[in-house]
């Protein structure tokens, strides 16, 4: 092969790999991302049923009910709307009533959010970022006052 042919082969194969990679990325971006929603968004029915979302808010006081085999029911609220959640598994250490939480899962037709992942704050100074912002929008949560 001549020098030119070699270079062309190289460029063509590089182009092919990059095209495949770009295709995969675009396809996955269309299909595999998860939107963050607040209970108000869900109440407004802007979320298509069955699509995967992240639900963030506060664990509503007095709603946590533990069933058998790790089943937990609770409600997530942003003080304007409230969404019932069912989750099977172990809750994070800092999952508490009245505290910030992010649940990932699917909204089912029965109006219950089926979560397969529940994240609480990692330590006492941390509130999940999306939750903090959503609550700030609603004027419920008043910022990082836990400076101490």
């Amino acid at each position: 092969m001549t020098r030119k042919q070699r270079r062309l082969t190289l460029i063509a194969s590089a182009g092919a790999v990059l095209a495949v990679a770009a295709g995969l990325i675009l396809f996955a971006l269309n299909d595999q991302i998860v939107f963050f929603q607040s209970p108000t968004d869900i109440a407004a029915k802007t979320v298509p049923e069955g699509s995967r979302i992240r639900l963030g808010g506060l664990v509503e006081d007095g709603t946590v009910v533990k069933g058998d085999h790790g089943e937990v029911r609770f409600s997530v609220t942003d003080t304007e709307a409230s969404v019932p959640v069912i989750y099977i598994g172990l809750l994070p250490d800092l999952f508490r009533e009245g505290q910030g939480v992010v649940a990932e899962g699917v909204m089912k037709p029965d109006g219950v959010f089926h979560a397969d992942k529940v994240l609480a704050k990692h330590d006492e100074n941390y509130m999940p970022k999306e939750v903090a912002e959503a609550l700030k929008d609603k004027g419920v949560w008043q910022g990082d006052k836990k400076a101490n």
């Binding site: 092969m1 495949v20 995969l24 996955a28 939107f35 963050f36 172990l90």
Partner: protein, 661 residues
Amino acid sequence: MMAMTVEFGHYALVLALVLSLVQSCLPIYGALKGDRRLMAVAGPVSGMLFLLVGLSFAALTSAYLSSDFSVQNVYENSHSLKPLIYKITGVWGNHEGSMLLWVLILVFFAALVSAFGRSIPDTLRAASLGVQGWVSAAFLLFILATSNPFLRLQPAPAEGQDLNPILQDIGLAIHPPLLYLGYVGFSITFSFAVAALILGRIDAAWARWVRPWALLAWLFLTLGIAMGSYWAYYELGWGGWWFWDPVENASFMPWLAGTALLHSALVMEKRNALKVWTILLAILTFSLSLLGTFLVRSGVLTSVHAFATDPARGVFILAILCVFIGGSLTLYAWRAPMLKQGGLFAPVSREGALVLNNLLLTAACAAVFVGTLYPLALEAIANEKISVGPPFFNLTFGPLMIPLLIAVPFGPYLSWKRGDLLAVAQRLWAAFGIAIIAMLAAAWLSGAERILAAPAVGLAVWVIAGSISEILSRARFRDVGIGTGISRLAGLPRSAWGTALGHMGLGITALGIVVTSAFEVEAIRSVQPEDRFELSGYEVVFRGVAPRRGANFTEDVAHFDIYSGGAKVTELEPTKRLYTARQMPTTESAIATFGFSQLYISIGEVREDGGVDLRAYHKPLITLIWLGTLVMAAGGAVSLSDRRLRVGAPKRARQQPSPAE
């Protein structure tokens, strides 16, 4: 006399900034003008910078050890009751201290270059150390302007604020320094690359010097990432070992680019080709390290790792990022066409295989890059909050790894300059056979349900078997007999062993990932004392919960007996811990290792009737994931210890294939 350690450390840091400005100017000016006296400054000043930042770091450490709460940083991030070891690790367990560690490692590498770089041409060494001086100056300025760890409080508070038990873990303590050694290690290859662009030429020594430094940084980064992954696995109690979390990706992107750099530097070193591409990769790798630092430090991603929520810091790091990445890429666009291109090679050749490796690794890196930054960009531009999770990465990163893994065993067999694919395939038949057997065995074990796991297992075994067969064939057992073969094996260059070990480690990690993902068994249930359940052939018996007191915590210990084939094999004691002073609960999972597989139990809250909710996993071959990374790192270390001047003997056209180094 009053002790003034803290102020001494503060002054040393200020002096280091001033000196790094000198370092940024004199040697480079000297290198450009050919003035040896100005160039000569580079080495001693590098040493002095290391000394100054080292003193500064020591002063901060001493403030932590003596619980000097007149230092704001100590007050905010320490506590007099912390165990000694965590007072020490607390120095870098916060934003300011960790940035100081970052700079300490930066000047440490510069000092290493000036100490071991005697054989580098003076101009190249002076210019590289000058570029390193720019990076040091930028980060020292960042520390002093926005993240000064030496700010004082008067009057001093009586007690520090941090006793967060989650952060009191030895794994978490070792993880950042390792990671930083990796991140910052790539600053050396960056400085070499920028120096070459500034000087407008690539010396022969340049090619020799880049690979060992890239290898060293890669080694630390590999260990750092593996360590972080294992920490998350045993400490977070979720049983996962990789979450595609942005913070993890921030360290994984430089690793991918650095691995590509390692391989392209090989081509450059041995064959004098791919020079310009290698320079670009060196720039990109360190840029990704800077990006990782930005993502973690700026508070853009709020998580355990984000200590900084001060926007001034984020903007400052972003500015550093733009100046260095933008500047170096502009310089590259301007100067790279002036550099001489290197040697020729056929598409099917060792060089060609390494180019394929580079293509796939950079494409995979790009996929991770998009997945990590797309949510941030979308939030900044459209105010839309999304999360890109494992499904995205599995769909993009996974497919790109398949051709890479298929190609890995071929690479080392191919001759330099022009190779013979058919001949190589003939010599890989044994490895291919073993892979097929492994695939069939996996298919038989997994049944129809998880049939996709079988080819994946076969692929991983293919990589392992390929690397073993390559090293054996180098010894030519068949031609020379076993005795000579073994002595030939011992006499092989260490870099050959390094390659084989590196590839084998990759295969081992891949095998661990595939098997544990496909064949993991999970059980979530509530149990009462004396309940028993079956998990992957083990019988787990819950014996009840008992309270226990620790040094600064109380815990509820759930006791499990594990039986296999009717005989008790081990006991597991996962606990729910409560740190009394802070009333802070944590979960401590319990892990039992059988061979390469693990049984993992973590418990939820203890019920009033003495029962517990639990989550139990059987994770087959999971330890291979981390063992593989250790083998990879060992390969890097062996290769690094090879001090030969590496030459790749080219293959002449139209000849029978024969092994060539």
